[in-house]
C-alpha cells in the first residue's frame, strides 16, 4: 500500500519535532528513516502509526486520508524498540492477541487462530516456542515474536522502531536477513527507524535522511552516496 505523508508538523511543548515533512512511499517498498537522535524520525513513525497526532498535515494510505483514523483501524503492524511483549502472556498468546481481541463476528475460530500462530512461529523460525514466556527468551527471539505478533492480522504496512537497537552484531545480521525475506514474501510496505547508517543502507530500498525535523534527502542508498543533497547528508553518511 502506498503511503503519502503531506507536510506534517509536530511540536512538543515549545520543542519542534517535525517541521513540514512530506514523503511519497511506493507500494511494496522498504524504507529506512535515518537520522541522529532528536531528528524526529521516531515521531514521524508514531504519527504514521496513529500513536501520536500531528499538529497539522496529512497521512494517506493508498490515497485514502487516515489522519483522523484511530490506530486500531489503520491496519498496521508495529514493532516496538524494546518489543513491548505482553509479559504475562505466553509467546502463543502474544502472537494471537491481535486475533483474539477481534469482534466476535470477525474473529477466527480457536483452531484457526492456533493454526495461524503456528504458521507465524514457523515464518519467524521459532517453531515449538509458543508455550514460553517472554522472560524465558533471548533478545533475538523476543524480536522475532514481536514481528510475528505484528503480522498476525495481516497488515498492509509494517512499522518498526529501531528494530535491532538492543541486539548484538551477529544476531542483528541474522535478523536483518530474516526481516527482508519476510517483507518480500508477505508483500508489505515497511518503514523502519534507525540511527545506524550501515543498517539503513544495507536493508532499505529507499532511505529518508532526517535532521532537525526536516527531510534532508529521500532516495535510494546508491544515489545518496553518489550525490548527497546537502552538507549534512555528506557528513552524516560519508
Amino acid at each position: 500500500m502506498t503511503i503519502t505523508i503531506d507536510n506534517l508538523v509536530k511540536t512538543f511543548g515549545t520543542a519542534s519535532a517535525l517541521n513540514g515533512v512530506s514523503l511519497d512511499i511506493a507500494d511494496g517498498s522498504f524504507v529506512a528513516l535515518l537520522g541522529p537522535s532528536g531528528s524526529g524520525k521516531t515521531t514521524l513513525l508514531r504519527i504514521i502509526a496513529g500513536l501520536e497526532t500531528a499538529d497539522s498535515g496529512h497521512v494517506l494510505f493508498g490515497g485514502e486520508d487516515v489522519t483522523d483514523r484511530p490506530v486500531q483501524r489503520r491496519n498496521i503492524g508495529f514493532v516496538f524498540q524494546h518489543y513491548a511483549l505482553f509479559r504475562h502472556m505466553t509467546v502463543a498468546q502474544n502472537i494471537a492477541f491481535g486475533l483474539t481481541v477481534m469482534k466476535r463476528r470477525d474473529r477466527p475460530t480457536k483452531a484457526a487462530i492456533a493454526a495461524r500462530v503456528e504458521e507465524l512461529l514457523a515464518l519467524v523460525q521459532l517453531p515449538g516456542l509458543g508455550g514460553r514466556f517472554p522472560s524465558q527468551l533471548s533478545g533475538g527471539q523476543r524480536q522475532r515474536v514481536a514481528l510475528a505478533r505484528a503480522l498476525a492480522r495481516e497488515p498492509a504496512i509494517l512499522l518498526l522502531d529501531e528494530p535491532f537497537g538492543a541486539l548484538d552484531t551477529k544476531v542483528r545480521r541474522e535478523l536483518r536477513g530474516a526481516l527482508r525475506e519476510i517483507h518480500d514474501r508477505v508483500g508489505l510496505t515497511s518503514i523502519f527507524v534507525t540511527h545506524d547508517r550501515e543498517e539503513a543502507f544495507a536493508l532499505a530500498d529507499t532511505v529518508a535522511i532526517l535532521s532537525a525535523g526536516k527531510i534532508e534527502q529521500f532516495a535510494a542508498p546508491r544515489e545518496i552516496e553518489q550525490a548527497p543533497a546537502s552538507d549534512f547528508v555528506r557528513d552524516f553518511v560519508i
Partner: protein, 278 residues
C-alpha cells in the same frame, strides 16, 4: 570465606539480631499480650464478649464499612494511578500531592473536616437536615471518613509500578486492534494485579482499623455507630478488659488473616509474579 561486598559474619549476625529483637519487642510482644488478655478468663468469657449484641453490631458495621470503602477506593485509586503514571497532563503534580493529603493530615483533622461540611452548622448540614438526609453521626459519615483516610493506599501502591512498566505494552495492544477496555482488561490489569492486591489489603486493614477520623464523625452510639475500634475503646474505658481485648484480638486476627491470604496467594503465584517483574 567472606565475599568482597558483604559485611563480616559477626556484624551481619548483630544486625539480624537487632532487627529480630526490635520486631519481637514492638510487634510480637504486644500482639501476644492482646491475645493472652483476651483469653485470660477462658474461652467462654471470650466468646460471650464477642457475641454480645453491641459487639456484634460493631463487627457488622466495621465489615459493612470495609465492603463499601475497599471497592470504591480500589476503583478510584486505579483511575488516579492510571492517569498519573501513564499520561502527561497539566496539574499532574498537583493531583499527586492531593492523593498524599490523607497521609499527611491527622485523622482527627480529617474527621473535623467532615463535621464542618455535613454537621448541623456545617456548609451542607442545614440543607441535608431539611431534606431528611442523615450523614453526621450515622453510617454515611463513617463510610466517607474511612474512604478519605484510606484513599492513598491503592494509588500509592500502583503509581511507581505503572510508571516503571511504561505504556509500551498498552500501545502495542492498540496497534493490534484492541479497544480501550480490552487493553485495560487484557494488558494493564494483569500487569498490576499483585500491586493492586497489596493495595487492596492495606486499604482493607486500615479501613477496619481506622479510629481517629471515625471517632469524630460517628457520635459513639452503642450498637448503632460504633465500629470495632470505637467499641474496644468504650469497653476499655468501662474497665471491661476481657471484652475490650476480645474484640481487639478479633480485629488483630482479621488483619493477620488478610496478611496470611496475601502470603498464600504470592506463594501460589510466585512464577507469574516473577514474570511480571514485581
Amino acid at each position: 570465606m567472606r565475599s568482597a561486598t558483604t559485611e563480616s559474619r559477626s556484624i551481619r549476625a548483630l544486625l539480624i539480631a537487632i532487627a529480630l529483637l526490635w520486631l519481637a519487642l514492638i510487634i510480637l510482644l504486644p500482639l501476644l499480650a492482646v491475645f493472652t488478655q483476651a483469653l485470660d478468663k477462658g474461652l467462654g468469657t471470650f466468646w460471650a464478649a464477642i457475641v454480645e449484641p453491641d459487639a456484634l453490631a460493631a463487627i457488622r458495621l466495621t465489615l459493612l464499612t470495609a465492603i463499601i470503602v475497599v471497592p470504591v477506593n480500589c476503583v478510584f485509586g486505579m483511575c488516579a494511578a492510571w492517569a498519573i503514571a501513564k499520561h502527561d497532563f497539566r496539574g499532574r503534580d498537583l493531583l499527586t500531592t492531593l492523593i498524599d493529603l490523607p497521609f499527611s493530615v491527622s485523622p482527627v483533622v480529617a474527621g473535623l473536616m467532615f463535621v464542618l461540611l455535613f454537621g448541623a452548622n456545617g456548609w451542607f448540614g442545614p440543607w441535608l437536615i431539611a431534606h431528611g438526609v442523615r450523614i453526621m453521626f450515622a453510617v454515611p459519615a463513617i463510610v466517607i471518613a474511612t474512604a478519605f483516610v484510606t484513599f492513598p493506599y491503592v494509588a500509592r501502591e500502583l503509581i511507581p509500578l505503572m510508571s516503571a512498566q511504561g505504556k509500551a505494552e498498552e500501545e502495542a495492544a492498540l496497534t493490534l486492534g484492541a479497544g480501550f477496555f480490552q487493553t485495560f482488561w487484557h494488558v494493564t490489569l494483569p500487569n498490576i494485579r499483585w500491586g493492586l492486591l497489596y493495595g487492596v489489603l492495606l486499604t482493607n486493614a486500615r479501613a477496619m482499623g481506622e479510629f481517629g477520623a471515625v471517632s469524630v464523625v460517628s457520635g459513639h452510639i452503642r450498637g448503632l455507630t460504633n465500629t470495632m475500634p470505637l467499641h474496644v475503646e468504650v469497653l476499655y474505658n468501662e474497665y471491661n478488659f476481657v471484652g475490650a481485648f476480645a474484640v481487639a484480638s478479633l480485629l488483630a486476627l482479621l488483619a493477620l488473616v488478610t496478611l496470611a491470604a496475601k502470603s498464600l496467594l504470592e506463594w501460589r503465584h510466585r512464577d507469574s509474579i516473577a514474570a511480571t517483574g514485581h
